[in-house]
């Protein structure tokens, strides 16, 4: 049984101008101990998807099974026990920490809320966590502003892990950090995964970071998963034209001053297009793509793609490596 199983999940918002389909029929699984990358550009729905999985938002339709139990239609009260097992790490470690609380208070709060241990036990647990994420022992009585960006993200990680979750959703956890600090935090997340047997959903727009971090990758475009495969498979053999465009857009020192691979802008998710959501920007688009939305199809074991032309494109891009 998968740790997380998501089936045909929809998260729609009603806006003044119509319906915004932020998540529009998404299905995937996360296994125990697996690190799944979720890649896409701003507005593609990846953060909304993360929040919907945690039931911070109530899904419009679809199922979410966590550890075999359906959590998509539980009441907020009934979903609370699951929250201890699914946690989130945010992009901006500063705005997600209460500036008026000490690190000790911030880390003890989840334990208190979920009624874990007595005061002494909670204090011990906080001290263990502070040590585990590589912060000085003296941190417990200090306030968030006394810490650097990297240290604040360590606090965010400690808070997410203090309840001993099985799944951690990381929403752009290193994109606000300086390069020399990014590696420290990525290594820490890997170490925590090994030590605690965690699964991750790692949301990021940075393909280099995802390539390092993810066992399996989901590529999202305008609310849909357009390609899903193991990292090894996806990077070697990307099938969807959007995945290939993302890879081609990565600056590569070996490819000096090369022209931009993809023209056009990311359309607003409110601009409803018929057919494939990517067709207005797609170099392979044909008449069929403008009317018929492609469904995800298994191209090879573990590698699915939603594109009418994945077959046609295949030989040309196999050698791209």
């Amino acid at each position: 049984m998968s740790l997380l199983q998501v089936s045909d999940l929809h998260m729609h918002f009603h806006t003044a101008t119509g319906v915004l389909r932020a998540v529009d029929g998404v299905s995937f699984t996360i296994e125990r101990g697996e690190s799944v990358g979720l890649v896409g550009e701003s507005g593609c729905g990846k953060s909304t998807l993360g929040k919907t999985l945690l039931r911070l938002l109530d899904p419009t339709a679809g199922r979410i099974h966590f550890d075999g139990q359906a959590i998509d239609s539980l009441t907020q009260r009934a979903v609370r026990p699951f929250r201890t097992r699914m946690q989130m790490i945010f992009q901006d470690p500063f705005s997600s920490l209460n500036p008026r609380q000490t690190i000790g208070q911030i880390l003890a709060a989840p334990l208190t809320v979920h009624g874990r241990g007595n005061k002494a036990e909670r204090r011990r647990r906080v001290a263990t966590m502070i040590d585990r994420v590589g912060l000085p022992t003296t941190s417990v009585g200090r306030y968030p502003h006394e810490f650097s960006g990297g240290q604040r993200q360590r606090i965010g990680i400690a808070r997410a892990l203090i309840l001993d979750p099985a799944l951690v959703i990381c929403d752009e956890p290193v994109s606000a950090l300086d390069l020399s600090i990014q590696a420290q935090i990525l290594n820490l997340l890997v170490q925590m995964k090994r030590d605690l047997g965690l699964s991750y959903l790692f949301i990021s727009h940075d393909l280099s970071v995802v390539r390092f971090f993810a066992d399996r990758v989901l590529v999202m475009y305008l609310g849909r998963i357009v390609e899903a495969a193991s990292g090894a498979d996806l990077w070697r053999n990307p099938l969807h034209p959007y995945t290939r465009a993302l890879i081609a857009a990565i600056p590569d020192p070996a490819r000096r001053k090369h022209a931009a691979p993809l023209t056009g802008e990311l359309p607003s998710p409110e601009d409803v297009t018929t057919g494939c959501p990517f067709h207005p920007r797609c170099p392979l688009a044909t008449a069929r793509c403008t009317v018929e939305a492609p469904q995800p199809q298994m191209f090879s074991p573990g590698h699915s793609v939603a594109c009418h032309h994945a077959d046609a494109a295949q030989p040309r891009f196999r050698k791209a490596g």
């Binding site: 550009e41 701003s42 993809l262």
Partner: protein, 336 residues
């Protein structure tokens, strides 16, 4: 390239505030039609350097330099009035945040023409026609219609194109782009960098690209100046940087960045780290990087190291790194 007269010559630039010195003794050059990347993390002083070149340092800052010369003109003694003739026409800047750098209550046409009318005294209709040309130049579709739009109607990528149109309106000789693509999506980033490079060639500008993204540096820059805590630690051709960087900080940065094309995953082992943070540079009497450096020696803590020339166009401010390199080709102590 070194035989040419530099377009921009910065010699021993120092910027001080009451209790800090965020840029110290910084020297570099930009030659005509060249792209130079200024690389460093937050706190390295790269954005303040850009502001100094635009004459836009906050009034609480004191700056001094042995030379600050743009296209033969000395920028050091310019009055605020004289700066207004230089800014936009000789040197212009594209900022990181296209959302906050545009005035939300003015049409983009009005914002593009502002500098044109100031510098070139164009009539309203001539300025408008030029604004449409400029929007077309930065490849905004339907420029005739877009010229009357307000910024909120444009996407982030289009706003950055408008910022670029404003910056190049008076054909500056030097364009400074401060993290021009950091706020943009990956596919849009590539488009904007390609546009900047095309404009550099078409308008014969020098481009000073301020960035923290080593991939961008490798793909788009001719030369790189690496800064750490206000000082230049290494300067080299972009190709050299990735294959032969010498300074422990430069090497550390390159090793620490997950690079897509290196295909290294966590299963293959940890990313190499630079321990500590840039905050440790505060109050350091010697090399600012010494508290984080794995090769530190006692003499590193005594005085800030000076850039030493490795070969033409390549210098490194670390005697230890040079000692450690077997085929050290120490030419001479760099004159700048």
């Amino acid at each position: 390239m070194t035989s040419m007269t530099p377009l921009l010559e910065v010699q021993s630039l120092t910027i001080r505030f009451a209790h800090s010195e965020p840029v110290r003794d910084l020297s570099f050059r930009v030659y005509p039609r060249e792209t130079v990347a200024l690389v460093g993390e937050s706190g390295s002083g790269k954005s303040l350097t850009a502001l100094a070149l635009m004459g836009l340092l906050p009034s609480s800052a004191r700056s001094g330099a042995a030379s600050l010369t743009l296209a033969g003109a000395d920028l050091r003694a310019l009055t605020p009035r004289a700066w207004r003739r230089v800014r936009g026409r000789e040197v212009a800047m594209v900022f990181q945040e296209p959302m906050t750098s545009l005035n939300p209550v003015l049409t983009i046409g009005r914002q593009i023409t502002e500098s044109l009318r100031h510098h070139e005294g164009l009539s309203a209709s001539a300025a408008r026609a030029r604004a449409i040309e400029l929007l077309d130049l930065v490849r905004i579709a339907n420029p005739q219609r877009r010229v009357d739009d307000y910024p909120h109607r444009l996407s982030g990528g289009m706003r950055q194109r408008v910022m670029i149109a404003i910056a190049v309106a008076c054909r500056p000789k030097l364009l400074i782009a401060d993290e021009p693509t950091t706020a943009l999506d990956v596919t849009i980033q590539a488009q904007v960098l390609e546009l900047l490079d095309k404009l550099r060639r078409d308008l014969s500008m020098g481009l000073l690209l301020i960035t923290h993204d080593l991939g961008v540096v490798g793909q788009w820059a001719d030369r790189v100046v690496v800064m750490y805590a206000g000082a230049k630690v290494e300067e080299a051709a972009a190709e050299t940087l990735f294959t032969g960087a010498l300074h422990p900080y430069t090497r550390g940065l390159i090793a620490a960045s997950p690079r897509f094309h290196r295909a290294h995953t966590y299963q293959d082992g940890k990313l190499s780290e630079i321990p500590g943070s840039i905050a440790s540079a505060v109050g350091e009497a010697g090399c600012a990087f010494a508290p984080r450096c794995t090769h530190v020696r006692t003499e590193c803590r005594l005085a800030p190291p000076q850039p030493i020339a490795v070969e033409a166009g390549w210098s490194v401010a670390c005697p230890v790194a040079l000692d450690r390199t077997e085929e050290t080709r120490r030419v001479a102590v760099a004159s700048f």
